[in-house]
């Protein structure tokens, strides 16, 4: 165990780790413990051992040889979970939810496609198309150039992603992380944000397929699909193919004699393996569209984005679909033409997007948050606080970041709350979570202890402005500046 810490200390020089003599067992005593699954314990003790929660409660016996932290004045939460992430896969940059949802504004007007560039780009994404160029590609969809359903996040994870440290400094210990290629992006994994090797970090996999709509060039270009409707048809065909694949395999299995055996299909196996799909839905009409699409596909689905969901709370509730809210709140772009007045609709979305979480909580929609490219500690904190300022209770915010996310991905049996036997993913704060002056004192990931530096918690100055925390209302000065 000691050895383990030492290695990490070497790897992560900026994050000062626990003293070298930290023993295997840790207890935080007399702290305010927010279990999330049960009642808040104003004065209780939690014991971590062998990467698991050994015990938690008001009447806990601390085993001998335990390293005890005096929890007076500290609050203990389950580690936070980024519910849709690329953390752990360096270089993967999440696409904005609006784009992912295929917003019309993203496509240049039909009359003015950007020809050459779009074509070249499309070809790069689509070698199969390029090979077929010059012939009628009337078979398009079954080529499936944009399908990476077989790619596994679990195989791509590496602890060297330098975003992990900042994430931990904001109290995040875990993420549902997904590959970031094509339209069907591959099999996601729930990971812990610490480990010597990638494989150490994987908690559960596969947990889903993220669908991203790739729309560009006004629907022109070389690679099918290039339009939103093409993306939808593409996915619809994949799931029809999956149906047929399953039926064909079953039929063959019961009657191999006299039938040709169905061909093994790499793409469909990946699809079949996925317990759920994540569908992009930011604006109201996209939410409508994806609810009906998810229902049509007859697979468990989750919506992500949801900045205009304040118009569709009832429908989401009625559809009984889990929702992942992007923490990258829409804001006015910086340095733009002062005479350009934004749309009313955009203004309303900017004003109300942070209120969506609170509305979901009241309506009983199951929701979690995701970082969506927000990856410094102060920005993450401010982003959550913004939802709280717009009506989300602290308890619901914490729940969204912990147990809800775990439940959505089916891993609530091992993480998401402070219960005996669960993974020792714990965050210890001085002050209430997400408050302006609150600091993260300790983070335990799989039992490994981190003490995030003040510097990290204040973060690099956003958008180049001097000073981390400027004493303005949190959440109002710089989100979205990092793009």
């Amino acid at each position: 165990m000691k050895h383990h810490y030492a290695l990490l200390a070497a790897a992560l020089a900026i994050a000062p780790l626990a003293p070298a003599e930290v023993p295997g067992n840790i207890a935080i005593k007399d702290a305010h413990i927010v279990t999330v699954s049960g009642a808040d314990l104003p004065k209780a003790t939690i014991v971590l051992r062998n990467g698991l929660i050994e015990d938690v409660g008001t009447n806990v016996t601390i085993p001998p040889g335990t390293w005890v932290i005096d929890g007076t004045g500290l609050t203990v939460y389950p580690g936070f979970i980024d519910a849709l992430s690329t953390w752990g896969i360096p270089g993967a940059i999440p696409a904005p939810a609006g784009r992912a949802a295929g917003a019309a504004a993203q496509s240049p007007p039909a009359q003015t496609p950007a020809p050459a560039q779009a074509l070249t780009q499309a070809q790069q994404q689509n070698p199969i198309e390029a090979e077929n160029a010059g012939r009628p590609n009337v078979h398009g969809p079954e080529d499936r150039p944009q399908t990476y359903s077989f790619e596994r996040a679990a195989d791509l994870i590496t602890p060297t992603d330098n975003r992990l440290e900042a994430a931990r400094a904001a109290g995040f210990t875990s993420a549902a992380t997904f590959p970031n290629r094509g339209i069907v992006e591959g099999l996601g994994a729930v990971i812990d944000l610490s480990g010597e090797r990638g494989r150490d970090m994987v908690v559960a996999q596969p947990v889903g397929q993220q669908i991203l709509f790739r729309v560009g060039g006004g629907g022109m270009g070389r690679a099918f699909p290039a339009s939103l409707m093409g993306n939808i048809a593409y996915i619809r065909q994949l799931y029809l193919d999956l149906d047929q694949y399953k039926r064909a395999k079953e039929t063959y299995a019961s009657n191999p004699s006299g039938n040709r055996r169905p061909e093994y299909d790499h793409d469909l196996e990946g699809l079949a393996e996925s317990p759920r799909i994540l569908l992009p839905a930011d604006q109201a009409q996209q939410i409508d569209r994806m609810i009906s699409f998810g229902q049509e596909l007859k697979v468990p689905y989750v919506l992500y984005g949801l900045h205009e969901a304040f118009k569709r709370v009832d429908q989401i509730k009625q559809a009984n679909v889990p929702a992942l809210i992007s923490l990258k709140w829409p804001v006015a772009p910086r340095d733009a033409d002062p005479t350009d007045i934004p749309n009313y609709r955009d203004l309303v979305i900017r004003e109300q997007a942070p209120a969506v979480a609170g509305m979901f909580a009241k309506a009983g929609v199951k929701f979690a948050f995701y970082s969506d490219g927000v990856d410094t500690a102060p920005e993450l904190k401010r982003a959550v606080k913004k939802a709280m300022d717009a009506g989300l209770s602290r308890a619901d915010a914490v729940r969204a970041l912990t147990l809800n996310a775990a439940e959505i991905y089916g891993v609530a049996d091992r993480m998401g709350s402070l219960d005996k036997g669960k993974i020792a993913n714990v965050v210890v704060t001085k002050g209430d979570a997400f408050d302006d002056r609150t600091t993260v004192e300790y983070v335990f990931v799989d039992g490994a202890m981190y003490q995030p530096s003040k510097e990290l918690q204040q973060g690099p100055p956003a958008g180049g402005a001097p000073g981390g925390r400027r004493g303005t209302t949190p959440g109002n000065d710089s989100e979205g500046g990092r793009n």
């Binding site: 022109m220 290039a226 009409q285 772009p333 340095d335 009313y344």
Partner: protein
């Protein structure tokens, strides 16, 4: 927050959130289109349908009375060729045959162009895929029920279609130095000639027939008690089978007479029907063949010379085809033009001497016939849907403007209400802006271009 929602609701209220009222529109010049003109006439709307028309129509006591003295009531305008309210690309132009894509999947009910079109008396749009490929995507007829969701806009009982495209547009991506194939790395997409366009259509229908046979064979074997492996369900071929079975209309973008004739012959060979020829600028040269095939022609009032295949166009096209017995409509293909199709229709009076009724028919009953919905809409007749537009003057006058629009008896546009709402809307918007600016400490600017909708979509040209 509630305050802001309230203005949304207020705007949506213009979008017919009030119940299906009983309405009596009184003392209007009623342009029924199919049954003549009733001077000082009244139209009674009950349960979303036209219940009575005449000079003396009595209304129930609870009816809302609309005094239309001096005004003109016409059927809601129908646009047989639109690309409005499509989200995320009008074309899936990557393939020669993209029949697997469906406009129905991507209707954006928040597209402001819906409201703008309503304000010009438009009530129904045939929303089409673009013309980038020989066989484009599946199409859908919508009613402009502004304020409703996309599924609620889909017109009940209107047969869906599929877009075909002939001539320059589908071969453009295949041209050696075409519009879409500039740049060293650009690859040509088949086809690059009209011959190739024909081949794509024939090839696809040949495949569709094989596919049809494959499924028939499978179903036969199942009936015989065998356990065959089911064929793959192919979203590209399914709609073509529907075309063969008469369950889906073909709307074919075309310009030159040779390609129009070509498609008729291919359809004859393959055993399907073309429902409408779209644009069809040289339709006047093969009006006889179009009529014999039983297709309609949906054309522009006066577009021409924007490309070589549009150089032999004449604004007399609609009149010639009408005189030769073809059912002709005048369409928009444009978010801008769809705002005044009545004025586009009026041009057929100058170019070819259409009567006022014939002119109005070009944007009402004729497109309704072409879309197979003339039993429901397209004229002011008892029993039809109360899709109506009220104009301050004869809608064929260039000085006229639309005042009110009803769809299914719901009011979806009212010019007075629109005017009333404007200051309040601006005030709400200003408050939002002020609030945002105050929160940001300083004004940081706005995106340019992101919010403008200035470029009309005239994709299909």
């Amino acid at each position: 927050m509630r305050r802001i929602l309230s203005i949304c609701t207020l705007l949506a209220a213009l979008g017919g959130l009030s119940g299906a009222e009983t309405i009596l529109i009184r003392n209007a010049t009623v342009l029924t289109v199919t049954k003549g003109t009733v001077e000082n006439g009244s139209v009674l709307i009950e349960n979303g349908k036209i219940a009575a028309i005449g000079k003396n129509v009595s209304a129930p006591a609870d009816a809302t009375i609309v005094d239309a003295t001096g005004k003109y009531l016409m059927p809601g305008i129908i646009d047989c060729h639109s690309h409005t309210a499509i989200e995320g690309g009008v074309n899936e132009g990557t393939l020669s045959d993209s029949s697997m894509v469906n406009i129905k999947d991507v209707i954006n009910p928040y597209d402001i162009n819906i409201y703008r079109a309503l304000a010009g008396g438009l009530t129904i749009s045939n929303v089409l895929h673009g013309s980038a490929n020989a066989i484009g995507g599946q199409t859908i007829v919508i009613k402009l029920r502004w304020g409703k969701t996309a599924p609620e806009m889909i017109m009940e009982g209107a047969k869906p279609g599929i877009k075909f495209a002939l001539g320059e547009n589908p071969k453009r991506a295949g041209e050696p130095q075409g519009f879409f194939t500039q740049g060293a790395a650009a690859e040509r997409r088949y086809p690059g000639t009209r011959m190739g366009v024909e081949e794509v259509i024939r090839e696809s229908f040949t495949e569709a027939k094989n596919y049809q046979a494959e499924w028939k064979d499978y179903n036969d074997r199942v009936v015989r008690g065998e356990h065959p492996i089911p064929p793959r369900k192919d979203l590209r071929l399914e709609p073509l089978v529907e075309v063969l079975e008469g369950k889906r209309y073909v709307h074919a973008h075309c310009y030159r007479s040779d390609e129009i004739l070509m498609l008729i012959r291919v359809a004859d060979e393959m055993g399907f029907k073309i429902r409408t020829f779209q644009h069809v600028l040289e339709g006047y040269k093969v009006a006889r063949e179009i009529k014999e095939h039983g297709a309609g022609a949906s054309t522009f009032s006066d577009w021409w010379a924007y490309k070589i295949e549009a150089y032999d166009a004449t604004p007399y096209n609609a009149a010639i085809m009408t005189r030769k017995g073809v059912v002709v409509s005048v369409n928009s293909d444009s978010d801008e033009l769809q705002r005044h199709l009545n004025l586009e229709a009026a041009k057929t009076m100058r170019y070819g001497g259409m009567t006022p009724t014939e002119a109005l028919a070009m944007v009402t009953i004729n497109p309704a016939k072409q879309l197979g919905i003339d039993d429901k809409v397209g004229s002011i007749e008892v029993g039809k849907s109360a899709d109506l537009a009220l104009f301050d003057q004869d809608p064929l006058s260039n000085y006229s403007k639309c005042l009110k629009v009803w769809i299914d008896g719901h009011e979806y546009f009212d010019r007075d209400k629109d005017l009333e709402t404007r200051p309040k809307f601006q005030q709400e918007k200003k408050q939002l802006l002020d609030k945002e600016n105050a929160q940001q400490g300083q004004r940081t600017g706005r995106p340019a271009g992101a919010n403008t909708a200035a470029t009309p979509k005239e994709e299909g040209r």
